[in-house]
Structures are given as structure tokens and as C-alpha cells.
């Protein structure tokens, strides 16, 4: 096979694998930012906090990091409901969610980062599962399992969530609160309670993403900062509130980054990837799967 074709194929495959990590990282934000209009800039920091918890608990119990992340997700759900309760009490119910709310989440981000440094120190932490050093070779294509497994996890988690959102009463209520909270109130459903539940789910998804992050790379307290721009861009590119759109955008983002890195060099990757965001929005302002107003 021609070397350039091999590079292209591997760029696409590795991009899809990378997109899986982006998808699980952005899926929580698709709920909090996409559906609830809450600019939770602390989402990547909470993901890293989960990663540290996964390393600590996984090392202590000798368990797979992804399994530990799923087991810790309920705790992060509770944390998420608490964060939303504070946000609603101090900002949202007063109509101050725009700027002051953003500052609130910035504060949470810094508190989480510094808290992790104080609790764990600034060193990199890692917890490698047995498959972390295994690579499947499919002809000329390499598939490292440390990237494949998070992609599969993203598929299972996001797929399950999508099914639940579309088929359960609470899931439909979450979609409804994104459309019209007042109309939901008229149907005797408390929109604040629904939002609290949804925000808790978004943080729980972030916790699962933290486990995926541990499988992919070592983590340090500031690891979340490189994901901030990406996860928000992916949510917007996919269409606000659309989980399928979020996944599609994440995969596209990963492919564009990696194919660019293969042929033009990695310094072009961010520019080209974010350029695709602008292109998508120019053609479809509502995002790939978003609905027009």
C-alpha cells in the first residue's frame, strides 16, 4: 500500500479513537451546556478530579480504572446536584447566571485544581490497566487498546443515556426543560428539580470520562485545561443539546486533528480543527444535529 495511504488510514482510525475520548469528555457538557445553558467551565476540572479519585481507589483496590470510574459516578452525581443547588440558589434564580454564574464555575475550577495539588501533589499519576500496552495490528493499521477501550465506553455510555433520555419520563422531562422550563412547570413538573438531576448526570458523565482519561494518559491537576476549548467547541459544533451531534462532532474533531498532524504537522491541528468548527457553523449555524429556532 502507498505510504501516504497508510498514513491517511491510520490518521483516520487514530482520529476516530481520539474522538471517542473527546466524545465521553464532551457528553456531560452536552447536557449541562447544551441542554441547560449552564456554562460549566469546571467540567474538565471535575473530570480530572474523578481521574485522581480513580487512580487512588483503583490502586488501593487493584481494579480496572474504567470500572472504578463507573462505580464512582454516583458520588459525582451527588456532587453535581450539590453544585447545581448552589448555582441555582445564588445565581440562576436571581437572573445572574450569565456573568456571575460563569465566575462561579471558574472559581470551582480553580478550587478543584488547587485542591488536587494540595491533596495529591503536582506529580503525574497513572493507573495502567493490563491492556494499556497492547496494540492490535490490522494489516497496516494500528489500534492501541488504550484508545479503543475509551471509544467503546463512550459508545455504551452515550448510547445508554440517549435511550434513557428518549424513553423515560425523567429523560423526556430533561429534554422538555431545555425547550421551555415554564411550560414544564405548568405540567406540574418542577423544572429546578429536573435541572438538578440533569446537572448531576452531566457531572457523573464527567466522572466516567475521568476514568477514560486515566487509561489514555497520566494525569496531573492541570490536565483539564487542554480540554476546555475542545469540549465547548464540540458541543457547539454538534448542535446544542444533541448527544448524537456531540458524538459526531467529537469524532470529526479527532479525525481532523490527527489527519492534519499526519500530513501538515501537529502545530496546524488546532487551527484546522477549530477552522472546521467555523465552517460547520457557517453552513449550519445550529450545528450538525441542532434544531433551528
Amino acid at each position: 500500500m502507498h505510504p501516504d495511504l497508510v498514513l491517511l488510514l491510520n490518521g483516520v482510525v487514530s482520529g476516530l479513537l481520539l474522538g471517542g475520548l473527546y466524545a465521553i469528555a464532551a457528553s456531560g457538557l452536552a447536557i449541562s451546556f447544551g441542554m441547560l445553558d449552564i456554562v460549566n467551565i469546571a467540567h474538565p476540572a471535575l473530570m480530572v478530579a474523578s481521574a485522581f479519585a480513580v487512580v487512588a481507589v483503583g490502586t488501593w483496590l487493584g481494579l480496572d480504572p474504567l470500572l472504578v470510574a463507573v462505580l464512582l459516578a454516583p458520588l459525582f452525581y451527588v456532587l453535581g446536584t450539590g453544585i447545581y443547588a448552589a448555582y441555582h440558589h445564588f445565581f440562576e434564580r436571581r437572573g445572574d447566571e450569565a456573568l456571575q454564574g460563569l465566575a462561579f464555575f471558574f472559581g470551582i475550577m480553580f478550587i478543584v485544581e488547587v485542591g488536587l495539588v494540595m491533596a495529591f501533589g503536582p506529580e503525574q499519576r497513572f493507573l495502567d490497566p493490563p491492556y494499556a500496552f497492547v496494540t492490535w495490528r490490522l494489516g497496516e493499521i494500528d489500534v492501541p487498546l488504550r484508545m479503543l477501550v475509551p471509544l467503546l465506553l463512550a459508545a455504551v455510555v452515550v448510547g445508554s443515556l440517549l435511550l434513557w433520555l428518549r424513553s423515560s419520563f425523567t429523560g423526556l422531562a430533561i429534554a422538555a426543560v431545555a425547550q421551555d422550563a415554564e411550560a414544564l412547570r405548568l405540567m406540574a413538573v418542577d423544572p429546578v428539580r429536573v435541572k438538578r438531576l440533569a446537572f448531576g448526570i452531566s457531572v457523573a458523565l464527567g466522572a466516567v470520562a475521568g476514568g477514560a482519561l486515566v487509561v489514555v494518559q497520566p494525569v496531573e491537576p492541570t490536565s483539564g485545561q487542554i480540554f476546555i476549548g475542545r469540549v465547548f467547541a464540540i458541543c457547539i459544533m454538534g448542535g446544542m443539546g444533541s448527544l448524537p451531534g456531540c458524538v459526531a462532532a467529537a469524532l470529526l474533531f479527532g479525525v481532523v486533528e490527527n489527519v492534519t498532524a499526519s500530513f501538515a504537522g501537529p502545530s496546524w491541528s488546532p487551527a484546522v480543527a477549530f477552522g472546521w468548527l467555523l465552517l460547520v457553523l457557517a453552513v449550519r449555524p445550529q450545528g450538525l444535529f441542532g434544531r433551528t429556532a
Binding site: 495539588v117 501533589g121 503525574q124 494500528d142 499526519s262 491541528s269
Partner: protein, 422 residues
Amino acid sequence: MAITTRRDLGRLAIGAAAGGAAGVFPASAQGANPLRIGFAMALSGGLAGNGRATLLAYQIWAAEVNARGGILGRPVQLVFYDDQTTPGLVPGIYTKLMDVDRVDLVTSPYATAMIAPSMPVVMQRNMCFVTLFGAGVNEAFKYDRHFNMNITGDNMKETYAKGYFDVAAKLPTPPRSAAILAVDNEFAQKAAESARFHARQRGLRVVYDRSYPPTTVDFTPTVRAIQSARPDVAFIASYPPDSSGILRAASELRFAPPLFGGGMIGPQLAAFQAQFGPILNNLVNWDVYSPEPTMNFPGVAEFQEKYRAQAQREQTDVLGNYIPPYAYAQMQVLEQSLQRVGRVDQAALAADMHAQEFDTIVGKFRFSASGEWAEPRNLFVQFQNIRDGDLEKYKRPGTKVILAPETLKSGELRAPYGPAGA
């Protein structure tokens, strides 16, 4: 009209006598005053790993000095603030240290990105300034009271990568091509520039020469692109998170050039060595210290013993084989200069530092006119005989074998990189 009474004259006389006595007996007036050394240090943020290790080394030095009675009869006191690895905070911190805290001496934050913003503030106040691991910071400032604890020396372009390409020349098959990859930051770009210089000087064809942003997550396509260019020598200049990704990708893609490594920051650190274990085998990389017999300087073993006893509790690098010995030596420079000069006089200290040789736990050295080490000492070590992530072996010779410079060489090159060459 104010009337001067005899009581006023008496008070004036007592005041003059007290002031005169302070001038005649300065030691007794200052004896209770600590010698305050102020600095900013990365205790959080991206550089905190080395920042906290540096602080521990300083604290060990201060405790030892105070146990010996201090410097010039005064106990040493460290006054420091967390710069959070945020360059924008540094000028404010140094302004506070000098104008509000009124420290006697200042030393730098850790690393180029944090040292550079401190320079204008320090220069305005004409302070003698010993810095830690800057890279070419004084090239633009040309401050004559700047002294840098870094083995790179002057003219990093010609000196940094020389050892790496000297090692490459000893490959069983003479190398003909080189690949260069560097993160977009000042230190790595200078390292890459040096690699480029030496590759061209030795007639190697540069088959890949790219940079990458620090936010890069996946290095698989980049390493694959390098692999497809089939270089004999691969020079990487990266920081710890990226070094992890690059080595992991190289392992997954079975990228095994005859010579691999360069200026990767990360393999010097204990957490990295614990995680990567045998993946490090035959990596040839820039370093500053290795516990080889050729680097057994007086005092370094004792320092490392003290450091390692406290490192776990302080949540810093548990081995202390990278920055800590140089941080301790930085304070030894201040100490030795103060002892010779005999007073806290910024100009006199700077003149002494330019003129004299220093004997520290990282060996003897002098400063050049620009304040860099007069004789650069860029080590290139090769990781050998690694079977697991156990860290005990990194305390002993034989694991990080020094291949360059010749004066400190402690072993022979093994090729190629990777399991095939182990």
C-alpha cells in the same frame, strides 16, 4: 516660634548616641535579624512538580545552614509565594518581596517562562539575582548581576545538542538522516535549533522537522509521520505530559530508530520512570545528574538521602535526581559568596560571583560574563538494563549511563532504541 528646651536637647543627644552605637556595632544591631531570601516558586500549576522539589531542597539547605549558626551570624529565613506557574503574577510577587517584605536577597522562580517576567523588576532595584534553570533569559536583558544555575551555558545553539550528535556518531552504522520534533515553548525551540545546527553541521539530512502545540493530546499520527520518514536519529524536545504521549506512541507503533531521545523533559522524573519502565530502555536523553561514579561530587549523596527522607511527605519527586541538587547548589552559591564578601551588598556579591569559582554538590564551576556556566555540562544519558518500574535502581549506577560528555562518560552506547536493543 518653637522653643528648644533642655529636655529636647537631651532626647536629641540620646538619639544620636544610639544611632552612633548602631553604626559602630552593626553586628549587634542586626544579630537578631534573619537574613531573608525571597523568591516566587511554582507550588501549583504545570511547573509545580519541579517547583515543590526545589522548595524542599532550599528548606534542607536553610536548615543545615541555620544548624551551623547561619550566614554572617544571621539565621536564614526563606520568604516565598506561589507563582501558580502564571508568569503574570511574578512581577507583583517580586515587587512585594523587595518593597513590602524588604528581603535582603532574591532568587528566581523555576524555569524560563517564570524567570523572564521577574527580570525587569529585579533589574530596577539592582539586585544580585541567581536564577534556576533559565534558558537564554539574559540574552536580551544583558543584566550583569544575573547568574544562572543551568548546565546549558552560553550559546545554547552550539552546545545543547552537541553531546547527542557526538553519541550518534558512535552508532554501528553512521547516521545519515535526522528527525526533529519540539513543543512550542522557548526551551524546546532552542533545543531543536541546536539539534538542527548539529545535524546540518554533520551532514545529516533532516527528514522531519516540526513543532507541536502544548495542548496536543494524541501523538500517534505525529510519531507515525516521523516513523514513515525513517530517520536514523530522532531528536525530541518535549515537556512531561507530551513526553509521556510520545513515548507511549513510539512503543505502540514499534518505532525503534537507531537513536531516539534528545531533549525530552520527563524521563528525569521518578513518576515517569515508574510508569514507563522498560519502554525507556536505550533512550538517550538530556539530563543534569546521574548517580554514576563520575558524578559522585562531595555532599550530593548526603543531600539526596535527606531529600528522599522528606520527599514522600512533601509530595515531591521521590528520587530528586533532577532539579533538587541544582537548587541546593544555587543556595550554596549565595552562601559562599556572602561568606567571602562579608556583607549584604548586591554589587559586591555580583562582582564576587563573576570572579570566583564555586564548589558545590553538583561540582565546581564558574560563571561567564553573561552569568551562564562558563563550561556547559549537558549530559546525555542512556537508560539501560530496565526490566520494570521499580525506582530503587535509579539510586544506583548502571541505570542512567552517561554517554556524553567524555569527561563524565560512564558506559557505552547500546542501539537501537527499544526492546530490540535492550
